[in-house]
């Protein structure tokens, strides 16, 4: 998918625009120049095994014909940026997965790209290395102002560093928008499935009168449920609860079961709605 953005894979139909330029219509030579400004990192790192870390970073500069002096200085800067100045002379085979990905990131940034494409860049890494790589990417995004496009199946990655998300299902964009909005209120089946099945089994037993409620940054710090129980005297069965931190805001969702008695259930729902909390009745199964 991401290979379409820099035309490593030619789309069968449609066009690709980068900065307003239709790159599916330009010549091979012009395309190469465009590619200088679109960095890319891969799941399998794809470093040149016969070159040292330093020479790997130098590679795109050689390709672009940057003069040796400048290229050398740039390489040193980049090694510093990814935190591996001591590994300059190491060969990829001597580096760990996380270190390899750092070198790959440095290599992708060598020609000062405007866009950085990440193709499942953390899928081959363990959780703590994934975190440190994501932190580095976020830092690059903020410090250097580079647009980062991430392709991933790990929703936790999206949650951690993305501002916008598009969920693709069966080759079509099912839903897109700001991460916060989509996570708070996914509309399509696939989005719900992706977001709620993340990391756990999701609600197991779903009976009648089951509701999903979503907290935002304000309500998540308030003990709303406790207050609701006290005020409406309605007995609540909590089936599932999950809190997440998205872009610095607490965000949570809970699946609760209300009593069969429709009146008290309606009271509870009304109470929650009056406190600006999203409540929706859930079907038999969401997870």
């Amino acid at each position: 998918m991401v290979r379409c953005i820099n035309l490593l894979e030619k789309p069968t139909s449609g066009s690709v625009f980068i900065d307003g330029q239709d790159i599916s219509k330009i010549t091979e030579k012009e395309l190469r120049t465009v590619r200088y400004s679109v960095g890319m990192i891969f799941q399998q790192f794809n470093l040149l095994m016969q070159r040292t870390a330093e020479k790997n970073i130098l590679f795109p500069l050689e390709i672009a014909g940057v003069d040796k002096e400048t290229a050398k200085k740039r390489t040193a800067e980049l090694l510093e940026l990814v935190g591996l100045p001591d590994k300059a002379k190491a060969y990829p085979a001597q580096l760990s997965g996380g270190q390899k990905q750092r070198i790959a990131i440095a290599r992708a940034l060598a020609n000062n790209p405007k866009i950085l494409l990440c193709d499942e860049a953390t899928s081959a890494l363990d959780p703590s290395t994934t975190n440190s790589i994501l932190k580095l990417l976020k830092e690059i995004n903020l410090k250097l102002g580079i647009t980062i496009v991430i392709i991933t199946h790990e929703m936790s990655v999206v949650e951690q560093i993305c501002s916008h998300v598009a969920i693709i299902d069966k080759s079509r964009i099912a839903e897109d928008g700001e991460v916060e909005d989509i996570f708070r209120n996914p509309k399509t089946e696939i989005a719900k499935k992706m977001i709620f099945s993340e990391g756990d089994q999701g609600p197991v037993a779903m009976g009648k009168n089951t509701y999903r409620i979503v907290f935002d940054e304000k309500s998540s710090s308030d003990s709303v449920i406790a207050k609701m129980i006290l005020e409406t005297k309605c007995l609540v069965n909590i089936l599932h609860a999950d809190m997440k931190n998205i872009d610095g805001f607490a965000f949570g969702q809970m699946v609760i079961q209300l009593p069969e008695d429709e009146l008290s259930a309606a009271r509870a729902v009304n109470y929650l709605r009056s406190h600006q909390i999203t409540v929706e009745e859930v079907g038999i199964h969401v997870g």
Binding site: R3, N6, L8, L31, R32, T33, V34, R35, Y36, V38, G39, M40, F42, Q44, N46, L47, L48, M49, Q50, R51, F59, P60, E62, I63, A64, Y91, P92, A93, R107, A108, N111, L117
Partner: protein, 219 residues
Amino acid sequence: MWDSSMTALIVQGTFETLYMTLASTLLAYLIGLPMGVLLVTSDSEGIVPMKVLNQVLNIVVNITRSIPFLILLIAVIPLTRLITGTTIGSTATIVPLVIAAAPFIARLVESSIKEVDYGIIEASLSMGSSPMQVVTKVMIPEAKPSLIIGAAIATTTILGYSAMAGIVGGGGLGDIAIRFGYYRYETGMMVITVVLLVLIVQLFQEVGMKIAQKQDRRK
């Protein structure tokens, strides 16, 4: 029957063999290396697919590879005379050796380059490499250890072919072995030339492996 002239003959034969082998290998690589690279790049899955060129190359390589060397040796005599002006001696032998070895080398090069992970090639394309840059900066350097092992195999194979050229007066150790050992039943001479050939093959093979190992950064 053993005298200094015999020793001189063997020394000369050894040098002729080395000359034929190394010169042929070098020339065969000048043809075989680009052929091998083209076989990979022009493939339908390659970086510059060219169907017709790929098919032609494959047919040429397969035909040349299937002709027994001894037949090829005789078949190309007119061409040999055209190029070197003679059909006997070690320089003349280089012509059929190159013709026989180039397609073989092309296949060796092809398989070495195919070992390079396509992801690495894709990465270099994503950075804006031209096909030529992919070949010179990625494919060949990344396949270097395997190419060196291939070169050692090619050299020893050519050495074996060069000994066969003795049958048509090609010079070198093979020539001596045939003239003295086969036609005159001088077993001693035969043994000496065979031992020398074995030693030379061992030497090339060992040196090739050592260099390849030293160059391999994948472990």
